[in-house]
Symmetry: C2
Subunit: 787 residues, 2 copies
């Protein structure tokens, strides 16, 4: 077969030539729907042992999975009337979905809490240690201390910096250098441990995991990606890398962790473990739970799962996702890792409304977010491609060590990069209250004014604010550069937090700028209407939040879920408009430079077979342009319904590696009657040769109801109707590809046969569709493959 060899060159053929059974026949075989036609020669009474499983790196057939689940459900329902025990079993089965959601929520929430606590402790470990108990973080250590005055909250005798502990010095150059060195050493140690653990135990634990989860949810099989080892190693190494101070976040990987939990619990219930379609419903809900604990936003999590990662999202899943997300959020809150009854460090409440004129800087921040998104995606993809194609990729451990060292060396001197990124974001989001001691809140107060707790009027900036401004500027440049090199290394790394940090820094700077402008120029027309002297008009923290949303939107191209997550962080409907303005602007600006978000870009880079629901196919090609065999290629490998011998079929199976073969009436008429799967053909022939008498190499195989008329002395024929899928999916050769793509997407097909007036002309697989779409988008069609 010539064109099969073309395909084999293009990609490992066993992966993609997934011509598999269309829906229907399997379910009917299992359910015995056709048992009326059973006769002596029809020996395949028991179902094959492996029917319904897929090989690694194969695509699932959604319709088939769905119909298998319906069969299972039908069987349970009919059995439940037989006895009370069966009835209880059917009830348990009906409830198992909710039980799985509960378990996922509990485990995901617990893991998130443990990760938060561990990160808190280990981040502080880089600076010092608690004398009363070494497993206390700085804050916990000082809680137990007797120092209760507010200013000294951070300074308590029980917490010792490394310089104090080792050389008994807390100030001075040598103490600084010692602390600096300890900081770098710990960072290197954490990073080295993390990358080694990932390399040795679970290579799939690296990255954010969201591109792969999107691919898996769209129906691809990657065994072990959501396994127990991945779960364990990803949780541990996530703590290590976040603590090491690298420019990455735990939010994306938490989605992966939650999906691993989902996969684990679904393997406990046969309803989910044996059905790849149902399993994906659980995984969608688990992704929602992951975002829910990452941002403390259950509704945002559900919408994220719906908008960003899920492929097949029935309403039932919506409801269950919501349940899982809520359970996870409440579990995390009862662990209370931040000691403030909040799920995240950067929850805020603002007291001042925003004004229409502020929309202009908000939209500017949106433009910045879009530009940052484009820059980040282009540079990061270029760097990752370099890593894949050059020798750089051969030294992942060294790469991590070098990046960690550079990050630590540059980060330490600047207080805004030394602290953990979550803390930085939290500080930037914060509104300057009266009790705030942060450098960012160092304003010059009017001595005549009594200080109310909230609603402080705009004040001129003090020295601290100006210092903070240039430190923030340096931090911004540093974060932008280092994040590009960090995301994609062989360690768990999310980019929600670094993106938000970039936006928050830029936003806070713009916010302080607008605030000071408004304070010093009350009389300008743009300020006159809304900003009188003595009024609190500008909240720089809100600008930071808007900037964070814009940058996150630019990188990920999230829309509704982004705004809802941010809404859940602020808790007020009030600020949705600024957030939305920034998110929309950022998406438009970024889309103008390229439609792909970072996750889609990584999916393409890795060549996963992902058929995006969002891409619109607008070309005018027809099915006949895409189907194989192409013009000039040898004809399709087909089976005939009653004229091929066992040996013919065995040869065909040996010579090709397709996953299935169309069955036609005869080679002349080429009228399609069904589709037979490679796997089942092999099993059926093997079984027949072993267990059925008279089956030899030149026995005729037939797929019809009645055996063909054969000469008297010919050997016993072999009936294979049971393995024939009588309802393969077909389209005519004139069908526009637009419709074909729609059908593949919405029905989750693996392949589709092409006919004209009932005559079989060719076949289109999901791979062919993806390749054609790449070709139409002027991309290299051969880039669409898993590698």
């Amino acid at each position: 077969m010539d064109y099969s060899s073309v395909m084999s060159v293009a990609c490992p053929a066993h992966i993609f030539n997934d011509w598999f059974s269309c829906p229907g026949v399997i379910s009917m075989v299992n359910a015995g729907a056709m048992s009326g036609s059973g006769n002596l020669m029809d020996f395949l009474d028991e179902p094959f042992p492996d029917v319904g499983t897929y090989e690694d790196f194969h695509t699932i057939d959604w319709l088939r999975e769905k119909s298998r689940d319906t069969d299972r459900h039908r069987k349970i329902t009919s059995k439940s009337k037989e006895s009370i025990w069966e009835f209880i079993k059917s009830l348990l089965d009906a409830w198992s979905g909710w039980v799985v959601m509960l378990l996922i929520g509990l485990l995901a929430g617990t893991l998130a809490g443990v990760i938060d606590l561990a990160v808190d402790w280990m981040t502080d470990l880089k600076e010092g240690v608690c004398l009363s108990a070494f497993w206390y973080s700085h804050e916990q250590c000082c809680w137990t201390s007797n120092e209760t005055t507010f200013e000294d909250r951070d300074k308590c005798p029980l917490w010792q910096k490394w310089s104090e502990l080792l050389v008994n010095q807390s100030e001075g150059a040598s103490a600084y250098i010692l602390n600096y060195l300890m900081y770098i050493l710990w960072a290197l140690l954490f990073a080295f441990l993390a990358v080694s653990l990932v390399r040795v135990f679970a290579p799939y634990a690296c990255g954010s995991g969201i591109p792969e989860i999107k691919t898996i949810l769209s129906g691809f099989i990657i065994r072990g990606y959501l396994g127990k080892w991945t779960l364990l190693i990803k949780t541990v190494t996530l703590v290590l890398v976040v603590s090491s101070g690298l420019s990455l976040g735990k939010e994306g990987p938490l989605v992966h962790v939650a999906c691993c939990c989902g996969n684990f619990f679904s393997s406990l219930f046969s309803k989910y473990s044996k059905n790849e379609g149902k399993r994906r419903e659980v995984l969608s809900a688990a992704a929602a739970a992951g975002v829910s604990v990452a941002f403390g936003a259950p509704i945002g999590g559900v919408l994220f799962s719906l908008e960003e990662v899920s492929y097949y999202f029935p309403l039932k899943t919506l409801w269950r996702s919501f349940f899982a997300a809520l359970v996870a959020a409440f579990t995390l809150r009862s662990i209370n890792p931040f000691g403030n009854s909040r799920l995240v460090l950067f929850y805020v409440e603002y007291h001042t409304p925003w004004y229409m004129a502020e929309l202009f800087p908000f939209i500017l921040l949106g433009v910045f977010g879009g530009l940052w998104g484009t820059l980040f995606i282009r540079c990061n993809i270029a760097w990752c491609r370099r890593r894949k194609t050059t020798r750089l990729g051969k030294y992942p451990v060294l790469e991590v060590i070098v990046v960690t060292a550079i990050t630590a060396i540059i980060a330490y001197p600047n207080p805004y990069t030394r602290q953990s990124t979550s803390e930085l974001i939290s500080e930037l989001f914060n509104d300057c209250g009266a009790l705030e001691s942060s450098q960012l809140c160092d304003y010059i107060n009017d001595p005549n004014m009594t200080r109310p707790v909230d609603d402080i009027p705009d004040r001129p900036a003090g020295v601290g604010v100006y210092t903070a401004m240039w430190q923030l500027a340096l931090a911004l440049i540093f974060k932008i550069v280092v994040t590009i090199f960090t995301f994609g290394m062989k360690i768990p790394s999310g980019l929600f937090i670094p993106s938000m940090a970039v936006g928050a820094i830029a936003g806070r700077m713009v916010g302080i700028g607008v605030e000071q402008l408004a304070y010093h120029h009350h009389d300008w027309i743009i300020f006159r209407n809304w900003c009188r002297p003595g009024a609190d008009c500008v909240t720089p923290g809100l600008y930071a939040m808007v900037g964070a949303a814009a940058c996150l939107g630019g990188v990920t191209r999230m829309t509704v879920s982004l705004v809802v997550i941010m809404f859940e962080l602020t808790g007020g409907l009030e600020y949705i408009v600024p957030l939305m303005a920034a998110a929309v602007t950022s998406k438009w600006v970024a889309d103008a430079f390229g439609k792909e978000g970072i996750y889609e870009a990584h999916i393409h880079l890795n060549g996963y077979p992902f058929l995006d629901v969002k891409d619109e196919f607008t070309h005018r090609t027809l099915a006949t342009d895409v189907m194989r065999p192409r013009r000039g290629e040898p004809p399709l490998s087909v089976l005939t319904q009653d004229s091929m011998t066992v040996e013919d079929v065995e040869t065909l199976i040996k010579e090709t590696d397709y996953n299935g073969f169309p069955v036609v009436v005869s080679r002349d008429s080429e009228r399609l009657i069904g589709f037979a799967q490679r796997r089942e053909l092999i099993l059926a022939i093997k079984n027949a040769r072993q267990r059925q008498e008279g089956i030899v190499s030149n026995s005729i195989m037939y797929f019809t109801e009645e055996p063909p008329e054969l000469p008297a002395n010919s050997p016993h024929p072999l009936k294979l109707r049971r393995i024939l899928n009588l309802s393969p999916f077909t389209v005519t050769d004139h069908t526009p590809m637009e419709t074909v793509v729609d059908i593949f997407r919405k029905l989750g097909l693996r392949q589709c046969l092409v006919t004209r007036s009932g005559r079989l002309l060719g076949i289109i697989t999901k791979k062919d569709v993806l390749r054609h779409m790449a070709q139409m988008a002027n991309q290299d069609p051969e880039s669409i493959m898993f590698n």
Copy 2:
């Protein structure tokens, strides 16, 4: 044709025999994709004038609409490169979606605000009038008054009850009776005006509109249902009926009003007005805006649209719906109809957490909600069926007058039914603060205690609370009975508010009960752990809210959107768990008695052709069991590709009323080559007879590329390939119906051809699918029709 007559008996045939074009060919005709094959005989160069429109009560073909939009888009994109003007036009086209959303949000928000203000005024008009300006409501009237002491807020000299105004008496039996009479008179006047306006100007303005909108969004055409008259009359009559004091709400009809706005604005842009599929995207977003202003819940609105009303909801629509919902909410807030910067009257903030032990009463409320839902749906449907089938339905005006009179007579004596239902719900949701003067907050205070504003400990109930309890019990019974008879009358009527009122009354009563129990029995085991003396443990208002959610859930079977709407009303994540527990319980209890929510029940009652996404089809039938012709029926009416004369076809068209005909190679082989639409056949033949020479009754019509070989003296043949849809959708006769249903749902087909080995066997229309599903669910299959 025998079986066509069967169908005609079953239902008005022109409505349902919608065998229409499959996707593809129309678009190709329009775009001239096949112009390469154009020759002299191929005269149909310009597109038909009416192509792309559907008749009233027909089903649209989603795939076809989608491909038409893609063509339009393609054309604009390619034109935009030609000139700067075309480029601007293409930009405007791209932006028109957002503009439509903005306009919908503005208009829906404004209308909601106007309705709120008008209802406020007219409800108070039943009790009295403002002397300073008759168009002031009671509250507005007293704002301008000088009485500023808190207790006298409601009593100001400018506001005069009718008795004061007419006979100068404010107290005493005769004043009471006069006020009572005026109350009834106004109510009757409002109701009579409303029902007359609906009958005369816009019969479609009655009901809540949600069942019809669900049907329309699923792809059905009901002309005028979303028209300008409906919009105007529904808005006006909505104010009248709500003010008349009937047991109905404005929330459901607001969705209809918003959809009318959506329809109006989409008719201004050809992108939406000429494409029924695109128009439905706008309508989905408009529904979200409607709920957004009805409940002040933009996110809840989007989820409601997604979960409850929409059929085709691409992610782009999600984002735009969100935008429309936000604009609507902000427009309403800037109108500020309630004078409190809130979007709804019943926004609440609670100060006390809930305790685990309270889950038990919450779940009980869930059970109550489920039972109420079942009772309401059964009784209301039975009553509506009675109205449809008996003489009762002939006197809609009388019915409305009688129900209004009874409602007004019974409602007036009880303060909880006299006030408007929104105010009642608001009062029931409220937490009893220190300043609350309501009867429901008449607790016995500890004289030794200073009164803090919040966090008042549990207190023993005073006389007012006990009075309130029995008044609430009476109100509960009254609301339950009267709502059953009100919903479905020929006036605009929503049931969100009455359902919530039933639940809120029940909930508040349970809440007060639990509160008093906990106060008097601190020592019981169940209370001991969480409710010490002097603590504020039970918030009866929260019980009211949980009850409202449970009852609303029982009636509508909403889940996520219900919880999110309630969450947006309380503003705290805290109370999601009680709400969710009640919503889940209520749904399970109600589902145990019948799967249908009130909207689905009304859809069935009215026989709309609605293929629900939520129903699961689990039967084992095959396509061959459903397709027509059935066994024993005459064969399918088909066209042959090159052997029928113009006269044959004209006869066929005259004798049948199908919307289209399959085209086969010949009657012997029956190999399918395409599908031709009735409408286009008629147009093509008419055009050819007028404009093409030599076309006579016995001209051969052919659908092939080349004309057939004809005897020398035969008349000029007529080429009709252009109107042939070369890619009709086919399945094999062995395809399980489960898969067929899935295909119809997901691809939005109108019909599907059934083949075996390329031979045409029959056809399945959406109507056949619906009829089969009804049959399988043991319902009367003929009930599935529009009547």
